[in-house]
């Protein structure tokens, strides 16, 4: 047991940190540190900078453009990016459909789809959730009917993040309605420019537009766009979902936000008082810092266990903690921001009024309530925290 980072790992951290410092546009960093979302252009710009460095698909196999980094280095890279903060790599390509394609796809699919993911020349979105398939993800109702060398797809996907930007969508579609729920699903890659696709924005309560409904009306999809075998799509979906072990806790994001809170808390507010001098706030801040430190160690334990090949085939109890505590702590940091801002949580974003006046209250205040509202999602998506508790109870505790 060696609980320190090695010198090599520390060197690597410095290298990553220096690279980000030198190459991340300050405009983007500033935007993110205020709790605002990265724009499409920001993400594309940063991904291409990383691509040039060879860092845009770090977990992929080396022969496909991966870095060959150890799990710990992957973690350090991820954390430094979140801590900067830099935009996150768009997960739908790099972490989701990319691994499915290089694991289960054929040679033509790999050649066609992987390079544009790496350079973000093509933007992907995820077509899993449906109105009737939320926590019960296998309840897919969208149909794909084989007609010659095409499938004809009809149905609806929802909660589709960034569908408005997307060139492609990967979809779970039901290809056999007679089979059991988890069987009879196929994994299709669908060009968003296909006739019959309509995207309807869903406005969320934070005032943002991240998610959409996607409607499929007699959409023709070449059979060549199916990954792997027909009716085996659920296996690929499970592979995809289990792939997102590290990073889901977003420890780096929460750390960056806590650092920001420390800074803000040390500045006197308009009333001349510093938040850090309010014992109730200070105690909650410290308690959140402690919980986050614990989660960070938990995350390192999971990485170390993975590297050591432990828990093969069965769930690591520590990994189950990542999603639950990680989402809770992201939310907790946004609540601390909400509490530090005081009455200036009230004014809504000036930009929505089309005016260009200075904000009311501190210049970071208008992003605070929207961030709080927005982050309610992290305990809902990616398997709600209720689903996570079911998983712990059943898979880990055997209840």
């Amino acid at each position: 047991m060696d609980l320190q980072f090695t010198a090599e790992e520390e060197d690597f951290r410095q290298e990553v940190r220096a690279f980000i410092k030198d190459h991340l546009p300050e405009r983007i960093r500033r935007h993110l540190i205020e709790g605002r979302s990265a724009s499409k252009d920001d993400i594309v710009e940063w991904t291409r900078i990383l691509y040039k460095k060879g860092w845009s698909t770090p977990r992929w196999p080396v022969e496909l453009g991966g870095t060959g980094w150890s799990a710990i280095k992957q973690y350090i890279f991820l954390e430094e990016g979140l801590a900067a903060p830099a935009p996150e790599l768009l997960p739908f390509g790099v972490s989701m459909v990319g691994p499915v394609i290089y694991t289960f796809g054929n040679a033509a699919q790999k050649a066609r789809y992987l390079p544009p993911i790496a350079n973000l020349d093509e933007w992907w979105c995820q077509g899993f959730s449906e109105p009737g398939a939320g926590s019960d993800l296998a309840a897919v109702a969208t149909r794909a009917v084989r007609q010659g060398d095409h499938y004809v797809v009809n149905g609806q996907k929802t909660w589709t993040t960034y569908a408005q930007h997307a060139d492609w969508i990967f979809c779970l579609c039901r290809t056999d309605t007679g089979a059991k729920k988890q069987e009879g699903i196929s994994f299709l890659l669908i060009d968003m420019k296909s006739p019959g696709i309509a995207v309807r924005p869903i406005q969320t309560i934070d005032g943002g537009h991240e998610i959409n409904e996607v409607f499929f009306d007699e959409v023709k999809v070449p059979v060549d766009n199916r990954v792997g075998e027909e009716n085996k799509g659920w296996d690929y979906a499970k592979f995809l979902l289990s792939n997102e072990r590290v990073g889901i806790a977003r420890v780096g994001t929460s750390k960056a936000r806590l650092r920001r809170l420390r800074e803000l808390a040390a500045i006197a507010g308009p009333d001349g008082r510093r938040a850090i001098d309010r014992p109730r706030f200070r105690d909650r801040l410290i308690e959140t810092e402690i919980a986050l430190k614990a989660l960070e160690i938990t995350q390192l334990r999971v990485l170390s266990d993975e590297a050591a090949g432990k828990f093969k085939g069965r769930p690591n109890p520590a990994s189950s903690v990542l999603k639950i505590r990680g989402s809770e702590l992201q939310q907790a940091t946004s609540e601390l921001l909400l509490d530090i801002v005081g009455p200036y949580a009230l004014p809504a974003q000036q930009s929505t009024d089309g005016r260009n006046e200075p904000p009311v209250g501190p210049d970071w205040a208008d992003a605070v309530a929207p961030l709080y509202f927005n982050l309610r999602k992290v305990s809902i998506y990616g398997g709600s925290n209720e689903i996570q508790r079911n998983i712990i109870a059943k898979a880990i505790l055997g209840l």
Partner: protein, 378 residues
């Protein structure tokens, strides 16, 4: 002791409830939010027709003479409907200030327009440097000639954009943090030197920053309490906390009901999700929080006109802390139980969360009130 409504109170509750039912469904509300005012002037007239605008004013002043229980009844229905009209600032708060600080003549001058709905009068008390402390006043009022000259700025004036006049606190003497030396002035929105910047708030309502530059106010437009307005302002804040607590309870109650209804229809894994015991227990915990909030709203109502200012303030701070806690826990739980749909603008749950979050931030957040209680306890 008895918690029952009398016949008149029951009638009031029913008529406000019916009005909201008829004219405040979710889609109508959406239309109101998109209007220029950010609420429905027609509804304001309807409030007037029901007598709600005259409710808190005494019969001597031509009002209805409703007390805290009546205000509680109205505010709870407003909360339930997520109504957008400026009843809290322009009626509850302004009426309280005028009741405690104005002369009968001043009231005779100001009230008729408020009661018939033609004039909105907004309290403008908070300042950027004061946080939630309304007795912190830097805006100055200097005697000049036959009146006063006001200079300064007021912040977060609730529904300030549509106000015809403001009740402005300004300092006649002393330092910004002094309790003594504060006067209250009626400032017309179109007075020279008055400018304001209205904006929307996160919950779809609105507020404004008010700037006063060399604004002349006639002597009789200083309220009758003279340079000792702090007690009236404190009373107003306490009455307003009772009112907003009732609004919060109405909103929470409606949100919990909607969530429980959703649990009964939303199916996953082949059954309604309300069958899942973990969600049942979460819903049960919401009931516990709701009932605790309801009790503290009642307590606030009961104590809001208590004569002992220290006991009253302690009660109000206690109530606000409980309300803030229940509002946050329940809003979070309800959105969680709805899943994604609860985060969309298309569904009421998120709108309740937004209003409840802003209620937390209005009239003192929990840190402010805990500080007040802690200093009182020393």
């Amino acid at each position: 002791m008895n918690f029952d409504l009398n016949d008149e109170q029951r009638l009031l509750a029913e008529s406000v409830s019916r009005l909201m039912m008829d004219r405040y469904d979710f889609n109508q509300r959406k239309i109101y939010t998109m209007s220029e005012e950010g609420f429905s002037p027609a509804m304001w007239q309807a409030y007037g027709e029901l007598g709600l605008l005259a409710l808190p004013f005494s019969e001597d002043d031509g009002g209805i003479g409703g007390g805290p229980v009546e205000i509680m009844i109205v505010m709870e229905e407003i909360g339930r409907a997520l109504a957008l009209e400026p009843y809290l600032p322009h009626i509850v708060m302004s009426a309280s200030l005028l009741r405690h600080a104005a002369s009968p003549e001043q009231r005779a001058h100001l009230l008729p327009g408020m009661m018939d709905g033609t004039r909105h009068i907004a309290p403008a008390l908070g300042e950027m440097t004061g946080g939630y402390d309304l007795s912190h006043v830097r805006t100055t009022a200097r005697e000049e000639g036959a009146g006063f000259r006001l200079d300064g700025a007021k912040t977060l004036v609730l529904h300030g954009g549509c106000a015809h006049a403001f009740l402005v606190s300004a300092r006649l003497q002393g330092r910004p943090e002094d309790q003594q030396g504060i006067g209250l002035f009626v400032v017309e929105a179109d007075d020279k030197g008055v400018s304001y910047r209205p904006y929307r708030t996160q919950d779809g309502q609105s507020a404004a920053e008010l700037m006063l530059a060399d604004v002349r106010v006639a002597k009789d437009m200083m309220l009758a309490c003279g340079s000792d307005a702090a007690p009236a302002i404190a009373r107003m804040a306490d009455e307003a906390i009772a009112a907003i607590a009732a609004e919060a309870v109405g909103a929470i109650d409606s949100l919990v009901k909607g969530t429980v209804d959703y649990l009964k229809v939303r199916k996953q894994f082949g059954q309604v999700i309300g069958n899942f015991q973990a969600l049942q227990h979460r819903a049960a915990d919401m009931v516990v929080e709701l009932e605790q909030a309801r009790s503290m709203a009642l307590y606030a109502t009961m104590m809001s006109r208590h004569e002992d200012a220290i006991a009253r303030a302690a009660a109000m701070s206690s109530a606000k802390v409980q309300i803030n806690r229940s509002a946050r826990l329940i809003a979070q739980a309800c959105v969680q139980l709805h899943g994604g749909i609860g985060m969309t603008m298309e569904h009421p749950a998120g709108h309740y969360m937004k209003r409840l979050t802003m209620i937390e931030k209005t009239l003192g957040d929990s840190d402010f009130h805990m500080d007040r209680l802690a200093s009182a306890a020393k």
